[in-house]
């Protein structure tokens, strides 16, 4: 199975809690939700979201970046620039053929689609920009990263809805173990806070609606009074590297990516299997892949969306498969549900939890659901030494992706 261990040597984050790993981690550990009224959603049935703080794309990515890169690509580039710098790798010196890029993305450039659709309605086909397709298609996220860094190895985008980021990291792990690549820039990105998308999620009853006047309290994973998720946006990028390659260049190993498991519920388009069979398959496969026993897992970064169904089913699965010992958290209380980016953002947070020996709190968990019998961190970050940590991601479509990280590679 294994072609050798894989190390995480670089991290980059763009979240509603901040641009950059430091601000994002600080925000998540602060346990305060970033959800707020969102001008772009004005007049929509749900008008709250967790938005990335304002930034100047030209400042960070150069001239005409808003014309070249949809917002979801901008996030990926900003996070990747941070992650590659953090890894200490020099893209001018590396063998680009041995560097891959794999990103998760649930939606792609819907902002550009929206804008050009408006132009077509107003001015007819001749008003449509020739830049539409290169702005919009989801695989441009990995494509542009390849161009930016001169990475000429395998380059693709995975789409498993809210599990996309984790699926991308798992696929990157395969490329490294098969020795196709020495380095893979992997993660996920999403920028879907748009009137049509938010309304689509609202119409299917997935979003929190109880606290539109008190948005900071709306996203409350595992709380008795949870009633849906709050949309977020952002990107998480990890530089993954064959551990041997990392050691040879004296790189700092931030954690190991030891295992990946994937499965499908084969049950329902949007509802989780109440018996959690798909999740069990993915968790079991990930642990076996990592070569660890269930009782070795001491931390779980939960998918924890704050929807009634997900959180109950996920908590039951954690309890049944891993027992009550792992210390559990969900970042979605703070940064919202970033859809295709979530698995990657949460993977980066899992690495930080291992490194910092700190598990961040789950925001707004004031009255834990009594049916949930797992140890969830609330109120304050908890000092905790995680040696083996699991990060769960589940997508609409019933797709499950589970990653196992270890202290050291």
């Amino acid at each position: 199975m294994s072609g050798g261990a894989v190390a995480v040597t670089g991290l980059g984050l763009v979240t509603a809690a901040g641009i950059g790993v430091q601000d994002s981690w600080k925000g998540v550990c602060g346990g305060r939700s970033t959800a707020a009224r969102t001008p772009v959603l004005e007049g929509m049935p749900v008008d709250i979201a967790c938005s990335v703080p304002a930034y100047d794309p030209n400042d960070l990515l150069g001239r005409r970046s808003t014309m070249k890169y949809d917002r979801f690509v901008q996030f990926a580039l900003i996070a990747a620039i941070e992650a590659v710098a953090d890894s200490g790798l020099d893209p001018r010196a590396w063998d680009g053929a041995r560097v891959g890029v794999v990103l998760g993305c649930g939606m792609g450039g819907l902002r550009s689609y929206d804008e050009q659709h408006r132009r077509m309605r107003e001015s007819g086909p001749e008003g449509v920009s020739p830049l539409l397709i290169p702005l919009m298609i989801p695989n441009m996220a990995s494509g542009h990263l390849g161009m930016w860094f001169g990475a000429r190895g395998p380059n693709f985008v995975t789409a498993t809805a809210c599990a996309s980021g984790a699926t991308a990291l798992g696929s990157a792990l395969d490329l490294l173990r098969r020795d196709v690549c020495d380095v893979v820039i992997a993660g996920g990105t999403e920028a879907g806070i748009l009137p049509l998308v938010a309304t689509g999620f609202a119409r299917m009853g997935a979003l929190s609606t109880r606290r539109l006047d008190d948005p900071e309290r709306a996203s409350r994973p595992f709380d008795t009074d949870r009633d849906g998720f709050v949309m977020g946006e952002g990107a998480g990028i990890l530089v993954l590297e064959r551990a041997e390659h990392a050691r040879a260049r004296g790189a700092r190993v931030r954690a190991g990516l030891a295992g990946y498991g994937a499965s499908a519920d084969a049950h329902h388009a949007t509802a989780p299997d109440p018996e959690g069979r798909g999740v069990a398959l993915a968790v079991t496969a990930a642990l076996a892949d990592a070569g660890v026993a269930p009782d070795e897992v001491d931390h779980v970064n939960a998918h924890g969306t704050s929807t009634p169904l997900n959180d109950a089913a996920e908590a039951a699965s954690i309890r049944r498969l891993l027992g009550d010992a792992p210390v559990v958290t969900s970042a979605k209380g703070v940064v919202g549900h970033t859809l295709g980016a979530a698995g990657a953002i949460e993977a980066a947070l899992t690495v930080l939890a291992i490194e910092e020996r700190t598990v961040p709190p789950t925001a707004n968990l004031t009255a834990p659901d009594p049916a949930i019998e797992i140890d969830i961190v609330r109120d304050q970050p908890r000092t905790h030494h995680s040696r083996v940590a699991v990060s769960n991601s589940f997508g609409f479509g019933g797709q499950n992706a589970v990653l196992v990280f270890t202290e050291g590679a």
């Binding site: 030209n58 001239r63 005409r64 014309m67 001015s123 001749e126 008003g127 920009s129 020739p130 830049l131 290169p134």
Partner: protein, 81 residues
């Protein structure tokens, strides 16, 4: 240079994020890192801002800014005659 040239410079500055000091009459669109897709986008903007329609295959990234201004002037004259 002509007022059309000046308008084009303004348009490149305001809509295509080019610094005015980077533009001379002899500057090509390639020099400004504008590829063929950006040329089509530029012609769309010229049409909406200046009311002049230039066909997509008449201007290329290898053209200079002065040449594009001449095209616009020629098209304006043709439309007016």
């Amino acid at each position: 240079m002509s007022s059309t040239y000046d308008q084009l410079v303004t348009l490149l500055t305001e809509r295509f994020e080019v610094s005015p000091e980077d533009i001379t009459p002899d500057t090509t669109f390639e020099d400004l890192e504008m590829d063929s897709l950006f040329m089509v986008e530029l012609l769309l903007v010229v049409q909406s801002e200046m009311g002049v329609r230039i066909s997509e295959d008449s201007a290329t990234p290898a053209d200079t800014v002065a040449r594009a201004a001449e095209l616009i002037d020629a098209q304006t004259a043709a439309a007016g005659s």
